[in-house]
Symmetry: C2
Subunit: 113 residues, 2 copies
């Protein structure tokens, strides 16, 4: 089964930051997404995956460009997946990742002034 | 002097996350902005400031809505100012803050798929 690329539950909840006072719950959900984006390695990993053939990257191809061990990269990817910004599919020995365009779009929308 | 509302140095540097592999330097700058946004209190503070009269809020009016002490709110605001997402102006006893719309717009653009 293909990963669901339109899953944007992460920030689908929320009005834009500049469009009225956010509730504590909305702020919590928005911050969760941005916390995942608040690390340079994770930002690079998203750009590496998005730039891969067919928009999909094997964990085995992500370690070298960021210069980190596979467990460390796996940990960063887990945070991105938990935040809804990437999907993970296990195929045999390797995990494959895709960027969730809908979640990036939602996060982008929340910041639009 | 009015705060410079078009200051977008924070992420003006950077191409969108999904438009090619980011350099380590670009990823660092992008992550710095999103780290500042990766906290629910700071997200709420931005929305409170943006929703204030004339888009400006006194620190004295921000503590009660978020239920935190003034030093804690000041600390959160410092991180937002350092990331270029807000400006601070001291007038007499109080500091006044504004959201930097240009910085939010840049951060939004970086995430646009």
């Amino acid at each position: 089964m293909l990963p669901l690329l339109t899953d944007d539950a992460a920030v689908a909840c929320c009005s834009p930051v500049t469009e009225g006072v956010l509730t504590a719950d909305e702020a919590e959900r928005i911050a969760h997404t941005f916390k995942a984006l608040g690390d340079p390695t994770r930002v690079r990993l998203l750009s590496l995956i998005a730039a891969s053939d067919d928009g999909e990257a094997c964990i085995c191809d992500l370690t070298e460009p960021v210069g980190l061990s596979q467990p460390t990269v796996s940990h960063h990817m887990k945070l991105l997946v938990d935040a809804g910004l990437a999907t993970r599919e296990q195929r045999g020995r390797w995990a494959y990742f895709r960027v969730v365009a809908g979640a990036l779009e939602q996060a982008s929308r929340v910041l639009r002034p």
